[in-house]
Amino acid sequence: MQTIGILGAGKLGITLAQIATKAGYQVLIASSKDPQAITLTIEVLAPTAQAVTSATAIAKSDVLILAMPLSHYKQVNRQAVKGKIIIDAMNYWWEVDGNRPELLDKTISTSELVQAYFKESIVIKALNHMGYHDLADESLLSDTANPLKKAIAIAGNQRKSINVVKKIIQAFGFDTVVLATLHDGIRLQPGTPAFGANVAEAELRAMIATTIPGEFQLGQHN
């Protein structure tokens, strides 16, 4: 059995902890605060997951999921993550991350920025495009799931690591659509048709194929 570490105990992090524990993984989850601050939440919402420090979540996990605000990724000790697979489930969210023009560059994927920081880890973009409530509802492990299997897109540069992530997402109860490079993750970001997509494989594939990078526009706040 693999151990999954999750950094971020917000709505997404907790939802992923719920799904991963149901799928039979060991789950270690950490927030930016003391583990005690989330113990009760985890005990009730994802009983078999463990609230730990981020150092423990990193040290003891086989695969690490980043589910914290995108603007915080540099707070993670990259030396400690060396050699590990990192699933980047983060998105630029101006309300949380503030106004950061560098995250709005339409020519690169935010996961490429994350990869540039975690030089010695393998960053795979996945689990970023489906809303947390849809993830909860649509995972085939959920007791309210629809019979139709939904798909999650994965973007990365390394075949072997992509396959590891693919297996995890399949175990979570989803089909997968693999994009050729981490750069292609740009087709899954806010403003694209795939962002927010809660659809089956063929439809997700079609959405991604028709996206022309650079043409989409993140809506402006009024």
Binding site: L40, T41, L218
Partner: protein, 343 residues
């Protein structure tokens, strides 16, 4: 089961009839809400709750001012906010304003404190979004002290300290206070700590996924040795005598509104399949009184709720459509739900 309360919530969306040459008539949209609150009371709704926003698509930025007007033309209905964005407001001022409404309404005022699912009030009033969590934490802490209506001594980091401050007006029987929550477990735990009831905004997805949150509230209360408090949810809906008609209205109003908000956040538009699913098994209460009543009764039973608020008139519905939802909710849905719950 304790008596369930039924509310109607609005943010003061602009009725279609009040948009002339693309210009929303905000003053009239506000007066329309006062009329609707009167109607809600007349048809037996327990609570009218108004939300605070600072955006072009909603007319209400000062819920308690509108509530004060409603206070003077009603005498039974509870007058609430849903929510008051406490993070970007001053707790003392919020208390003073709601205590004033409470006086005008003979004890019917109720404040619901929230962090706000929108963040436009932060730059507007000079608050830093980076302090999002701390602002709310500190201000709820201060507010809970003010609720005691005694001399308050308080220190925090983001607001000047108070030393033996006495706040006026005092209320007759205390100010009814709820916490509005989007889906953050931290907020549930916080509410239990302050012994305040919780309203969950359930905007999409199956409501059943909130069942663990109800358990969390219970366990948190046990941990803090506080009294378990009532829990309610608020969700969108349209009621009409004809199912297809209700769905048509919801499609051009609620769906359009959600798509607008989605665009600002980079989400793609809601598909017909998603829309249908929200109505069937998700969190939109759309249809005939019978359909909507069944769905409300089910969610109240599943989550053991003490309160259900229907968000009515979302998007640009016509005045007729808005009033139809209010009338059918009060005259038919609420009695039907009560019957179903009694079974």
């Amino acid at each position: 089961m304790t008596k369930v309360q039924f509310g109607l919530d609005t943010f003061g969306d602009i009725p279609r009839d009040l948009i002339i040459n693309e210009q929303p008539d905000y003053p009239q949209a506000i007066r329309q809400v006062v009329k609707e609150a009167k109607l809600a009371e007349a048809v037996g709704v327990d609570i009218i709750a108004l939300g605070e926003h600072h955006r072009f698509d909603y007319a209400i930025s000062s819920p308690e001012v509108v509530l004060a007007a409603i206070a003077s033309v009603t005498n039974k209905i509870t007058l609430g906010s849903a929510v008051t964005v406490l993070s970007s407001d001053d707790p003392v001022r919020v208390f003073e304003r709601f205590a004033t409404v409470d006086a005008l309404a003979n004890g019917r005022a109720q404040v619901m404190l929230g962090r706000g699912s929108f963040t436009e009030s932060f730059p507007l009033f000079g608050y830093d979004l980076a302090d999002y969590d701390q602002l709310f934490e500190e201000k709820v802490n201060l507010f809970s002290e003010l609720l005691k209506e005694k001399e308050t001594t308080w220190t925090g980091q983001l607001r000047p300290a108070l030393s033996g401050a006495n706040i006026f007006p005092k209320t007759q029987h205390g100010l009814s206070t709820w916490i509005g929550v989007g889906g953050s477990p931290e907020s549930i735990i916080r509410a239990a700590r302050y012994e305040l009831p919780v309203m969950l905004a359930v905007i999409s997805g199956t409501p059943k996924r909130f069942a663990p949150y109800i358990e969390l509230a219970k366990q948190a209360a046990a941990k803090f040795q506080t009294q378990p408090q009532p829990i309610g949810i608020h969700s969108h809906g349209v009621i009409a005598t004809d199912q297809a008609q209700a769905e048509t209205v919801a499609w051009y109003s609620i769906k359009a509104m959600m798509d607008q908000l989605g665009r600002e956040r980079g989400w793609s538009a809601m598909s017909k399949a998603q829309f249908d699913r929200e109505i069937k098994t998700g969190s939109m209460y759309v249809g005939t009184p019978q359909t909507v009543a069944k769905k409300i009764a089910k969610v109240i039973k599943t989550l053991n709720l003490a309160r259900f608020d229907l968000v009515y008139g979302a998007g640009n519905q016509s005045i007729t459509e808005r009033e139809a939802t209010i009338r059918l909710y009060g005259e038919e849905v609420i009695p039907l739900v009560k019957e179903m719950l009694a079974e």
